[in-house]
């Protein structure tokens, strides 16, 4: 335990990849990467049997740093590639990491369909409420009224709740955390990975560079402080009124249900088909 | 090749405002001095991490190739930038460095001014080192009137920071004006070897 972090750093970060990584100073992506590594380690999963796929965005740069089977796909499509991988080799544990734009703007359809199918994938969505990589244009989770590179007059659209969409579309496991709550994240990610079926972990993260700067909370510390102040656990949230909850970030496990899993269902079909043959 | 093409490169680190300085210079040249001007800059991963590069090409006639071919003037705000971007230096070009940070200098045609120290000590805001340098560069190029430079600066900085930026500009010009260019060595490289 004492040297654990050193060991994790050594075991899971790619030595032939130059550090420090590309992310801005204080970017939450790095914190998520830390949690992901700790979760994987806690679950004692084989690196060879783990796949980490991403789309395009700052978040999309995560896989390159991790010594797993890694895949940096096209913008919004990580889940489609992941679907192919998982179906082709169900013994692999397949994770995806996506940005909010990646997962719910251009990739929104794949997201709801992956949830509906309930294939055993884990989707980590780093919701920094903005397009980081391309310079701060609004995303489907940018709050009403905020400023963005394409919303100089204040944003007029309303945000998706990523977690609610996932639940409605059919995901088995849905959780939310923030980068301030790294220890909770470790657990949520581990739970999501362990869950058979489609799991979503929405992680509220800071893009101070593109979001904070424009919205008067220009540094990572301020933004993390805000996550800390606004967060409320699922258990506590249950006791609050909708008004009291209005500005809060509910964190914890939001949904955890058991549903038939796609790969098992597929096996049933194969059995019928082989018999009919 | 048109002879009046004048090429300036700015090199520095990410947060130093190198690009803003180049943009202001381009504005001064293009809008207020009536030159043709092309301003370009490093973009992408390079721009994200440490180094940052910006270029301004000025001419009385239309500019074809928009980037620096051989620098007439190179402003280096850090050692890293100097090392990385020195390669296209023209024989008889002028190297201007921020002596606050730059220690190893590859050319004797150099002018050293402690822009950052001036900004910190004289203006009280390290952040305006770029404008101090801009003042010096503009003066050394001998292509700008101080009036036009001021206009350009004012058009690009937020209202509340006008004064401090003008102060910085003038500090830079002053520092440069104290340099005696005629003492600089001349290159012996012939024109033949110039890049096109």
């Amino acid at each position: 335990m004492p040297e654990k972090v050193e060991r994790l750093r050594h075991d899971y970060l790619r030595h032939d990849k130059k550090f420090p990584h590309v992310w801005c100073p204080g970017c939450g992506n790095g914190i998520v990467l830390g949690s992901l590594i700790r979760a994987i380690d806690a679950l004692k999963l084989e690196k060879d049997e783990l796949v980490l796929a991403s789309g395009i965005g700052c978040s999309g740069r995560m896989p390159v740093y991790v010594d797993l089977n890694t895949l940096h796909t096209t913008h919004g499509r990580a889940l489609t590639f992941a679907t192919g991988i998982k179906l082709a080799n169900p013994s692999l544990t397949v994770l995806t990491v996506m940005g909010d734009g990646d997962a719910t703007a251009i990739g929104g359809n794949h997201f709801i369909h992956a949830a509906r199918r309930n294939l055993d994938l884990t989707a980590i969505i780093i919701n920094n409420q903005i397009y980081g990589m391309t310079g701060g244009q609004y995303s489907p989770t940018t709050p009403y009224g905020s400023r963005a590179a394409t919303a100089a007059y204040g944003h007029i659209e309303h945000a998706f709740s990523i977690a609610e969409l996932a639940v409605t579309a059919g995901a088995s496991f849905v959780a939310r955390g923030t980068v301030y709550h790294a220890k909770l994240l470790d657990k949520l990610i581990a739970k999501g990975i362990s869950k058979k079926g489609f799991s979503v972990i929405e992680i509220i993260s800071n893009c101070h560079t593109q979001y904070g700067r424009r919205n008067k909370m220009g540094d990572p510390v301020t933004m993390m402080q805000e996550f800390k102040d606004r967060a409320v656990t699922v258990e506590k949230a249950a006791k609050l009124s909708p008004e009291e909850l209005a500005d809060r970030i509910t964190i914890g496990v939001l949904t955890d249900i058991d549903k038939p899993n796609y790969t098992e269902e597929l096996q049933k079909i194969r059995d019928i088909a082989e018999k009919n043959r | 090749m048109k002879d009046d093409r004048y090429e300036i490169r700015f090199g520095g680190s990410g947060g130093q405002g190198i690009i803003l300085a180049a943009v202001i210079l381009a504005e001064a040249a293009g809008v207020y001095e009536g030159y043709h001007v092309c301003q370009t800059q490093s973009y992408g991963p390079e721009a994200r991490g440490g180094r940052s590069k910006a270029e301004v090409v000025i001419s009385r006639s239309e500019i074809d190739y928009p980037k620096v071919i051989q620098m007439d003037l190179f402003l280096a705000m850090t050692q890293a930038a100097l090392d990385a971007y020195f390669f296209d230096f023209k024989p008889n070009g002028l190297l201007v460095v921020d002596s606050t940070f730059v220690k190893q200098i590859p050319s004797s045609r150099v002018i050293t001014i402690p822009f950052t120290r001036i900004a910190r000590d004289e203006i009280g805001k390290e952040i305006v080192a770029n404008i101090v340098a801009l003042g010096a560069v503009a003066l050394l190029s001998r292509k700008f009137s101080s009036e036009n430079l001021e206009k350009a600066v004012l058009s690009k900085v937020p209202a509340q920071f006008k004064d401090i930026n003008l102060q910085a500009l003038h500090a830079g010009m002053k520092a440069a004006s104290e340099v005696d260019l005629s003492h600089l060595p001349r290159s012996i490289i012939s024109d033949e070897e110039k890049e096109v």
Partner: protein, 94 residues
């Protein structure tokens, strides 16, 4: 060495401070640190001060309670917190 001194010595060796609480060491990899300030701001014991560039410097290393907040939240894997164990070799030699 007075008794107290010697006590102190052993306590430190075993990673315990005077009051018998565990001690921790904080290692910062400055090449990886990007000076975001998170460790400095959120350390409950204000272990870190900030250097010229904004990077953490150890100010109160012995106050560290090993909560590992900084280690877990450093986005750049630039901090390691270790328990300060007694140096067994030297002890054996003693």
């Amino acid at each position: 060495m007075t008794e107290t001194e010697s006590n102190n010595y052993w306590q430190k060796k075993q990673g315990l401070d005077k009051k018998g609480v565990k001690l921790f060491s904080q290692v910062v990899f400055y090449d990886w640190c990007k000076a975001c300030g998170i460790c400095i701001a959120f350390c409950p014991k204000k272990v870190y001060g900030r250097d010229e560039e904004g990077k953490p410097v150890l100010e109160n290393p012995d106050d560290c309670i090993g909560c590992r907040f900084c280690e877990l939240h450093c986005p750049d894997f630039a901090i390691t917190i270790k328990e300060r164990y007694p140096d067994r070799r030297r002890r054996e030699n003693d």
